[in-house]
Structures are given as C-alpha cells and as structure tokens.
C-alpha cells in the first residue's frame, strides 16, 4: 500500500500548471455564488459612492488609512532603503556629468553672491524707511512620506502626520527644494497630498521678473502646463515660476520651477520634480494662523 502511494506521488506531475489526472473541480455552492455576487455589488456601490465623493466614505477611508498607517510606516523603511540604494547606484554612473554641472552652478552662484548681499542690505534700508511690518515666519510641521505611488487615477502621496499635528486640508507642502503640492484629506495620523502633477491640480502662479499671473495645471505628466495668461503678457523659457498667493489658499513666493516650452506650449519643469520625496514640510497658512502670528 505504502509503495503504491509512493509510486503515485512520484508519478504525480509536480509541475505547476499541469495535472491531467486530477479530480474534476467541485462546483461552487449556492451560498458561495450568492456571497460572491453580493460582494461584487458592494464593490460597485463603493465605486459609485467614491465617484460622487460621498463624505461618509471619505471619512471611512481616512480612518482606515489611519489604522494602516503604522504598518505602512514600518514597511516604507525597507522600501525607502531600496529606493535610496538605486538612486546611489544611478548617481554613481552619472557622477562625472553631475560633478561638472555642480561646478558650473557653483561658479554662477559665487558670481551673484555679492549681488545678493548688496540687495539684502538695500532691502532692509528701504523697509526701515517705509516703516513696513515684519512678516512672521510660517509655522510648519515635517513628516515622512509613507506611501507614494503615481497610480492610474492620480498623483497622491500619504504623509505620516495628520489632524493631531494641526494639519488641515489645503495646506502647502514643500520639500527641500520647493513646492510639491497640497494636502487634500486629513485623518488623525495621516494626510493625503495632491501633487502638482495630478490632473486635478490647479495652482495660481507668478512667472518671471515681471510677475505675469497664470495657473499651473497638472497634466498627469511630470510637466504641468501653464494656462490663463493675459493676452498682452509674455513669458519666456527659463523664467522662474512661484506661487502667487491669489485666493489666499497658499503662501506667496514658494518656488515651483522654471518655464519650459514643449510642443509650442508652455510647461513647468518642476524644481522639486526629480528630488526624492521622503521628508516634506507642511506649511500652516490660513487666516486664523496669520492672525495668531500677528498677536
């Protein structure tokens, strides 16, 4: 008996996708089919509610993300390590080119350094003459990106700080180089950031030295486009782009990028585009915050 079974095991095809002598599959029970059908309907209902931006569903999602945040936070550590290793490996191959770029930039910056000091000095003199009020520095809180993946439906990131840190929807988010997006949903421990590159992103901007007003519109690619510029104003490739602060939603003067022409249309080459976003800061900019700072 045992030797027969052993022969059976040896003759059984252990390779994965083949088992010609298997038992015929068992049909699913009625309960199984009903449950599956019910779950399909439930998933469809969730999809429709999500599209209609149901508030209760949004709250549930935020709460679920809050619950999952510690696990995501923990799992992001090896993911971040792997990401940094790849970046280091990549930069190793680019090292000569990057070195020459850095040397050129260093030379250029040294050239304007004395000019900046002179401008600072003149600026402070003029402010004193005008008796202008001092701008209070914005409060901010820094956090780590625990989930950041450009998906099919949007360019979002998840941050490990939320309500309990004072964050609310609409706050500007910056990294070490510039503005990257703003918070759209906040839970107790997490916040969702809508990036500049997302199709639904619309940011009022100022372009160049002449302060041309426009809107940066996300396209789903790494170059948001510039639109709604007055017909009698001109912008040029290489002009710097900043947040304009129009509408009172975002602070003025946050660096976004430079103008780049692609297919006869003006886009923005984001200054924070290629930078890895592991640690970011959320700026507390709203009317109540400004009033508090003035006291």
């Amino acid at each position: 008996m045992f030797s027969k079974n052993r022969h059976k095991i040896r003759s059984t095809n252990l390779r994965f996708a083949s088992a010609p002598n298997r038992q015929p599959p068992v049909k699913a029970s009625g309960l199984s089919s009903t449950l599956l059908f019910g779950l399909v309907l439930l998933a469809l209902v969730f999809l429709v509610l999500d599209k209609t931006e149901n508030r209760q569903l949004k709250k549930l999602k935020a709460q679920a993300l809050d619950l999952a945040a510690p696990a995501l936070d923990l799992a992001s550590v090896p993911a971040g390590y792997i990401h940094r290793s790849f970046e280091r490996a990549q930069s190793f191959y680019d090292i000569n080119r990057k070195l020459s770029e850095l040397q050129k930039e260093n030379k250029r910056l040294r050239g304007i350094e004395w000019n900046i000091d002179k401008l600072k000095h003149n600026n402070s003199k003029l402010k004193a003459l005008l008796n202008s009020a001092q701008e209070s520095p914005l409060k901010f809180v820094s956090g780590r990106i625990i989930s950041g993946n450009p998906g099919l439906f949007g360019h979002h990131m998840l941050l490990n700080v939320g309500h309990r840190n004072g964050i609310r929807a609409g706050f500007a988010v910056i990294n070490s180089t510039g503005f990257i997006g703003r918070t759209i949903d906040t839970g107790t421990r997490t916040s969702r950031i809508l990036l500049l590159t997302d199709k639904t992103s619309r940011i009022p901007i100022t372009i160049g030295k002449q302060g041309v007003r426009g809107v940066a519109i996300g396209t789903g690619s790494i170059f948001p486009k510039i639109d709604f510029i007055a017909k009698n104003r001109s912008i040029f490739e290489g002009d710097h782009v900043y947040t304009s602060g129009d509408g009172g939603e975002l602070p003025r003067g946050l660096s976004i990028g430079v103008v780049k022409k692609i297919d006869n249309q003006f886009h923005i080459a984001l200054i924070a585009g290629k930078q890895a976003n592991e640690y970011v800061s959320v700026l507390f900019f709203d009317q109540s915050n400004l009033a508090e700072n003035q006291r």
Binding site: N5, I9, T12, L14, R15, F16, A17, S18, A19, P20, R22, Q23, P24, P25, V26, A28, S29, L31, S32, L35, L36, L39, V40, L42, A43, L44, V45, F46, L47, V48, L49, D50, K51, L57, K61, A64, L65, A68, A71, L72, A75, S76, A79, I82, H83, F86, I146, S147, G148, N149, P150, G151, L152, F153, G154, H156, L158, R192
Partner: protein, 179 residues
C-alpha cells in the same frame, strides 16, 4: 480536510496581504510603475482560483482588493471589483481549464490576463467617464506577468512541500468551498 485547507491557505493569504502593501510604494519600474503590484495580486488570485478551485474564499479576495484600493489611493472598489470579477472568471473557466492538456491550459492562462486588462481599462474609463489611455494599464499587466515568476515559484514550492508532507494530491485537499 479542514486542516489541509487551512494549511494550504497560508501562502495565498500571505501573498494577498503582502502584495497590496508593496503596491503602496514607488519602485521606479521601467514599465507600469504604480500598476504592476495590483495586477500581480490579481494574477495570484487567478492562478490560485484555477489551480485550487474552492480554496480562496471570496471575502478574502474582497479584503485584499480593498487594501489595494486604499494603499494605492485608487477609487474605493476599483481593484476590489477587478479581483472579484477575476474570481468569477476563474470559476467560470476552471472546468475548461482543467479538462484540457498543458498547451490549451497555457494558452487560456495567457488569454485571461488580456481579458482582465480589458476589464480594468473599461472600468477606469467608466469611472472617469471618458476613454482612458490603455498604455499604462497594458504596461502594468506586462510588468506583473514578468514579476509573476516570484509568487508562482513560492506557490510551487509550497505545493511540493504539502504534497511531500501530506502524501496526497493537492486537489484532494480542498473539498467543497463554503465561500
């Protein structure tokens, strides 16, 4: 039978929990970045449902889909619906799949991912109320098919281990599913 079933469920459950977590991060893949891991989870569901009919309970697949939706910040229900429809597809075709030889089974196993890609594209277009570019979805599925080697190897190894330990054909282990 119940003990065999529980043992056999261990690796599929781990895969269905682990893969949506991987989907939360950016891996800078050359193709289908952001979509490869959700599609990989779907392919694991397909393989398990075809190979071990009656093993995967549908609530488990539902929860895995919800996790995918939450972690990838996709619309809630999108990946869940695709996973459940994959399970339905697998249950409908399992008789055909297991009643034929290796070549036909291999061919049908390639056609099913193509069909799932089509479902994903139609559903995305339905959600956005406009035709979406199919390229990112196709790239995501292609990348997932390349990565499928890893979970398939794990499942093969696990199956061999179970057969060696339990001295029986895996298809005899699972019996009738209540779910």
């Amino acid at each position: 039978m119940f003990r065999y079933r529980m043992t056999a469920l261990v690796l599929p459950v781990m895969l269905l929990a682990f893969l949506p977590t991987l989907a939360a991060y950016q891996w800078h893949m050359p193709l289908g970045d952001g979509l490869a891991f959700p599609f990989l989870t779907i392919l694991v569901v397909l393989i398990c449902a075809l190979r071990y009919p009656g093993l995967l309970p549908s609530p488990l697949v539902f929860c895995s889909g919800l996790a995918c939706d939450l972690f990838t910040r996709s619309p809630l229900g999108y990946w869940t619906l695709i996973m459940l429809l994959t399970l339905v597809l697998a249950r409908l075709t399992v008789t055909f799949h297991q009643g034929h030889g290796r070549l036909i089974r291999g061919a049908s196993t390639l056609i099913l991912p193509a069909f799932i890609t089509l479902i994903a594209w139609i559903l995305a277009s339905f959600y956005e109320l406009s035709w979406q570019p199919p390229r990112p979805i196709i790239e995501g599925m292609l990348m997932a098919l390349l990565l499928l080697v890893v979970p398939v190897s794990l499942l093969m190894g696990f199956e061999t281990l179970l057969i060696t330990k339990k001295k029986t054909d895996p298809s005899r282990m699972f019996g009738r599913s209540r779910f």
